[in-house]
């Protein structure tokens, strides 16, 4: 049995929020898939609304409060990250982006990520692929192929009889669970003071 931790970052602003609902469902579905193959799964949720002031302070001072530092550590050390944001003005919310802006370069490198987003109408669904996916590609994460967009209607009507929300969630979770299983990222030791390969404190080519 392998112990795995899933971190969930939810940028919903209301309480309760549909963003958090989607995040929880993605986490539950992924945990279920991982448990099927015998994993012991822990889910850690980071609600960015609770950290909004700390995130702004970090942007201004350049360092995190202890509360924020603990949340960042939770996210960076997880075996997989589920990141869900509302779509504002055709993209991720500013708070969502600010959280990822304050991470140290490389903090999420190689991390398996499942992306999700919510919005008022399904016409915003492509924001997942033109805004959110490139952000996580830039951060050198491994983004699962399927992301999940939930429009307001998805929570009520069953108009979409071909691919209703629960089915889309399950497909994304199954793919993401595979990525998490394959990842060796958290088993590798990281030294924050590792010097670059070939670093020479005297410089190269200086002496004759």
């Amino acid at each position: 049995m392998t112990a795995r931790t899933l971190a969930v970052v939810s940028a919903g602003l209301s309480k309760p929020s549909s963003t958090r609902m989607l995040a929880d469902r993605l986490a539950d579905a992924t945990a279920r898939r991982l448990r099927e193959t015998g994993d012991d799964v822990t889910v850690e949720v980071v609600e960015l609304r609770d950290l909004a002031h700390d995130i702004t302070n970090n942007l201004l001072t350049g360092f995190p409060s202890s509360t924020l530092a603990a949340a960042i550590e939770k996210v960076a050390s997880a075996d997989g990250l589920i990141a869900v944001t509302p779509i504002f003005s055709t993209s991720y919310s500013g708070l969502f982006k600010s959280f990822f802006d304050i991470l140290e370069p490389g903090a999420l490198s190689e991390q398996p990520v499942l992306i999700g987003a919510t919005g008022g109408s399904p016409r915003h669904s492509l924001a997942l692929d033109y805004a959110i996916r490139p952000l996580f590609t830039y951060l050198h994460t491994t983004v699962a192929t399927t992301g999940v967009f939930a429009a307001t209607d998805d929570w009520g009507s069953s108009d979409d009889t071909v691919k209703p929300l629960p089915e889309r969630i399950d497909r994304a979770a199954a793919e993401f669970a595979q990525v998490v299983r394959r990842s060796t990222r958290t088993s590798e030791l990281r030294d924050p003071f590792a010097l670059p390969a070939g670093f020479d404190p005297t410089g190269v080519g200086g002496a004759q």
Binding site: N57, L60, T61, S66
Partner: protein, 373 residues
């Protein structure tokens, strides 16, 4: 243990009056502050280097040369000298001159600066910040130690048969500290040369600096300059004091709330809990800074940033009185207690000359063992 003041030389409006000092007033204020630092019995005055408004110290050696003439015991330093964008030849010349003028009362803290456009303004590439710091210092180190230097590197035109003049006072170069907020490469560089490591320490919770300093100490020992405990460490700090701590909080809060660096961010209470900034009575400052060595080990130099956020000169001078009369004398005693005999004092020209002479007069075997002790 050396105590002193470091300044970045910012021209900042006083938020309580809205008045901004002129550049001329700020330059004169900094000169007055430096003289006061000696008068109140502190050891070091360190001046920053910037090349953009609202900062005035673009020409540190001009200001420090004046201060050298107006003082007699004060050790002059920099916070920091830009090793990335200055020509190392000019650093060697300017600071060797200042070393002579000040009768050896000079050392340098080297840094990479915090204003991106300074690199292109001086024809450099910011992505080469670390390689510039490494190569430029390698050249500076040789210019001060070898009378005739042949050099070719990546970042400046080659030198053939070059002699930097004047030669360092008594043929002993100024002591050098390397300052860094986050780069292990700079800590490694400081350790390799057996130079000092200065942690600005004021913008980050202590745990980060504890790791960086601990890394420097281990590497200092690895390179054979002494034990980790004997590595040369300096720390920055910040304080605002009044006899009654609530008076200090009330008076400083409007300056804190509007400060260029952390204004409109965390509350004064949050920031003082998370960083070494201490706002309160002199006793509170003593307690806070007497505890620093519990986190960083016994160290050699403590500098305070006191003239910032638009505080008027009169208030800064009052702060220096409190620091010199009530805080530092007690801290000197506190930090002497249980300080291991093997931990060296902060380097001075006299101590460097003595060390050089001791190594020269002892037998080669003793000198070799002293060098690797």
């Amino acid at each position: 243990m050396q105590f002193g003041i470091f300044t970045v030389g910012d021209v900042t409006p006083d938020p309580t009056t809205g008045r901004t000092p002129t550049e001329g007033e700020r330059i004169k204020a900094i000169l007055a502050i430096a003289e006061k630092v000696e008068e109140v019995g502190l050891d070091v005055f360190a001046l920053g280097e910037h090349h953009n408004p609202p900062f005035i110290p673009s020409s540190p050696t001009t200001l420090l040369g004046y201060i050298a003439a107006r003082t007699s015991t004060l050790l002059l330093s920099t916070s920091t000298t830009l090793i990335t964008t200055n020509d190392p030849v000019k650093i060697a010349e300017d600071y060797a001159t200042l070393q002579h003028i000040s009768d050896g009362r000079l050392d340098l803290i080297l840094g990479r600066g915090n204003t991106g456009p300074v690199y292109p303004w001086f024809g450099k590439d910011i992505r080469q910040g670390i390689p510039l710091a490494i190569e430029n210092y390698a050249l500076l180190h040789r210019l001060w130690r070898e009378d005739v230097v042949d050099w070719s590197g990546k970042f400046r035109t080659p030198l053939q048969g070059f002699t930097a003049t004047p030669r360092p006072l008594d043929d002993v170069p100024p002591f050098v500290w390397h300052g860094s907020i986050r780069s292990p490469e700079i800590a490694e560089q400081a350790a390799y040369y057996g130079d000092g490591f200065f942690a600005n320490n004021i913008f980050w919770p202590k745990e980060h600096y504890m790791q960086l300093i601990s890394f420097y100490r281990q590497r200092f020992e690895h390179y054979g300059h002494g034990t980790a405990q004997q590595a040369i460490v300096g720390l920055g700090g910040q304080a605002f004091m009044r006899k009654n701590s609530q008076d200090a909080v009330n008076e400083f809060r409007p300056y804190f709330d509007q400060a260029p660096v952390y204004g409109n961010g965390p509350s004064l209470e949050e920031f003082t809990a998370q960083t070494p900034l201490t706002v309160g009575s002199p006793q509170q400052v003593i307690d806070r800074y007497a505890g620093m060595r519990d986190h960083f080990g016994d160290y050699q130099r403590q500098l305070f940033l006191m003239d910032h956020a638009g505080l008027p000169l009169k208030v800064v001078l009052e702060q220096l009185d409190l620091l010199g009369e009530e805080v530092v004398p007690v801290l000197r005693k506190e930090l002497e207690k249980n300080r291991p005999a093997a931990v060296p004092d902060g380097p001075t020209h006299a101590s460097l000359v003595a060390a050089r002479d001791a190594a020269a007069t002892s037998s080669p075997i003793a000198a070799a063992s002293a060098a690797t002790r």
